[in-house]
Structures are given as structure tokens and as C-alpha cells.
Symmetry: C2
């Protein structure tokens, strides 16, 4: 019912994750308010993402061959944290309490989604481990796929002379004990620690 | 933390109505999966909306000077339905039970938002009413602004030789009576009709 160009725009927005027809229409009308110059700016920002690559070392997003983390010599090169996606790197960085390097797998091993180790950025991880590497922190989510990926990585890193660790599982801070699920409670109990007064 | 081009893309999505940082990131990552050609297609669809105009008669969206409704001679030109936005035209059309013409105001009179009659597409409405025009259906929403706009239109259309009507207010179909608000119930009672068996 709308002009074809407008229907095309709505169809475009409908392809974004979780966007239905009503929301797509709202977005399209919001764009319609922009003037010609603003539209051109938006289009060139869009075309600009064709220049975004994966860092050749760790797989994080980068404008250049190597990302800002891999190029940063102030970071500790003896620790590599392995994560599923670029978003995870940003989540960890925001805490400000990690100063090592990263390695982005580009997903998790998943039998249900048909993702196998060879589909992930694992070979480059093995190649970058050298005599200076002391620890690999496997920071995959505590889900079925995340656990499977962690176990796989632990297995193939066995013969490397590195410590392989995993993020701690337990009660999330601020959570109410009686709302925690059984599995989380079991993990929290298993991994209990001596209280250390400072 | 992401490369600048990617941050720019996220910032772009964040400007869409109701989109926060997390959702903007999801959208940006979805676009990152597209190849160069798909990105070009998206950009050209985007630039294409610069060609979308308002119909010079009714104010609906159009690729040309006149929209598909105003150009359609099979429609009844003696009835004009006045709506706030292009979306309302589409909502009415979807019912398939209206065959007259439309007039899109481009908003509603609103003292809180500072929108006055002169900001709306009202003058063109007055100009297009002629001796063939029999009825103006004011189809604004039953909100404060919608009612105000309807009253204003009724007033300025007084001296034109046309019937001015308003969409019926009452219980929405399928609604439960005990969940209806007082105002809706009062309207439904005031506007009660004799049951006509066919």
C-alpha cells in the first residue's frame, strides 16, 4: 500500500533480528524524517562497515590487520582469554580488571546448530601459543554449548605447557539465594572458598 | 572499544525510536554478516527514500506527485477520511471496507507538544472540498489530541456543505466488559443502538 521504495525500506528493517512489521514501519518512518544529507551520511556509514575486518591474530573486529588489543604493548601477553564473540571482549573490558590478550572464537561448538571445532577460530589460537604463554582463560558462557567448547579446548590444550582456567561459576552478585537454580547452587557449593579477612 | 566504523554504525541504530545500546549492537552485528554486495543494496534502498514525497492532494506517501489512492478513479470521491498519519491509511485499507479517499494531516493538534492547526495539512483539505464532496469522516484516535483535532475540524468545516462524521466509540470487539475503562463504557452506553435482526 505504501510506495514501493518505502515498502523496500520496511522489508530491510524486518530482516534485523527480532524486528517485526510494526517495528520496521516505525524505524522506516523515523528515517523518512531525515533530510537528504543525513540520509547520505547514514548510507556512507553503512558502506563503511565493508572496511571492518577480523584481527589476523585474535579475531576481534578491527579497521586494520591487527586490532587495538593485539597492538597494545602495555597488555600482558602471557595470558590469553578465549571468548565466543566480540561482544564478550567488550563486556570483559568494561570491568577494567583484565589486562591480558583476547582470542575470539566466532561462536561455540554446538551439536544442535551444527557448529564444529573446524568452523571456529581455534587453529590460530593453537598457533599463537608460545613459550611466553602462561595461561589460557576459557571464558565461554556456562551454557551447554559453552561447556562443550570449554571441555574441547581443555583437551586440545593438554599437551601445550600452559595453565588452562575457566571463569568461576556460582551465585551472581546481588542475587537472592532462593531464586537461584539447582545447578547454580550445586556449583556454588562445590566451589566454596575459605573466607579470607584482609 | 570497537573500531570507529563499527561504533558509528551502533550510534546510527541507537537513534532509531526505542532502540538502546544492546539492541543497536545486535543490529550492527547482523549487518556485519552481510557481504559487500548486500551492503551496497541496503545503502541504495536507503538512498532511494529521498525520492519519496507527500502526495500533493492528500499528503500520503508517494513515488510520484499524486498517490495511488488519489489516482484511483474507482474510488468514491465524495467521501474523504481524515487521518493523522500514513500508518492510519494502511490500517483502514487493510479492513477492505472503505472505498473513499483519504486526507493525511501529518499529526494531531497538541497543546502539550506545541502542534497547532497551521502545522498540519489542513489548508489543502479545505481547498479540495468541492460541490461533489458529501462527507468528511474524521478518523483521529480517541485520545485527548485526537478529540481536540476532531473538534477543531468540525468547527472549521461548519460552513462547508458537507456532512462531518466521526468514527464510533465503544467497546472493542472481543473485549471483556469488566476490563473496559469508565469512559469507554459511558461512550458505549451513550451510543447504544437498536439491535437490528436481518
Amino acid at each position: 500500500m505504501y510506495p514501493q521504495r518505502f515498502e523496500d525500506l520496511i522489508a530491510l528493517f524486518e530482516k534485523l533480528p527480532g524486528v517485526g512489521n510494526k517495528t520496521a514501519q516505525r524505524y522506516a518512518f523515523a528515517l523518512l524524517e531525515k533530510d537528504g544529507e543525513q540520509i547520505n551520511d547514514i548510507a556512507s556509514t553503512l558502506v563503511g562497515i565493508k572496511e571492518i575486518k577480523r584481527c589476523r591474530i585474535c579475531g576481534f573486529l578491527s579497521d586494520e590487520d591487527e586490532c587495538s588489543f593485539c597492538k597494545d604493548h602495555s597488555r600482558n601477553p602471557s595470558v590469553i582469554m578465549v571468548v565466543a564473540n566480540p561482544q564478550d571482549v567488550v563486556a570483559i573490558e568494561k570491568t577494567g580488571s583484565y589486562k591480558g590478550l583476547y582470542h575470539v572464537l566466532g561462536g561455540l561448538i554446538s551439536s544442535s546448530k551444527g557448529i564444529y571445532p573446524e568452523d571456529l577460530n581455534i587453529e590460530k589460537l593453537l598457533n599463537r601459543i608460545n613459550e611466553n604463554t602462561k595461561e589460557i582463560i576459557v571464558a565461554t558462557s556456562p551454557t551447554m554449548d559453552g561447556e562443550m567448547t570449554a571441555l574441547y579446548l581443555d583437551k586440545i590444550l593438554k599437551d601445550k605447557q600452559v595453565l588452562v582456567t575457566r571463569l568461576a561459576h556460582g551465585l551472581p552478585m546481588g542475587a537472592s539465594l532462593d531464586y537461584a537454580d539447582d545447578l547454580t547452587l550445586i556449583k556454588a557449593l562445590d566451589n566454596r572458598r575459605k573466607i579470607e579477612s584482609e
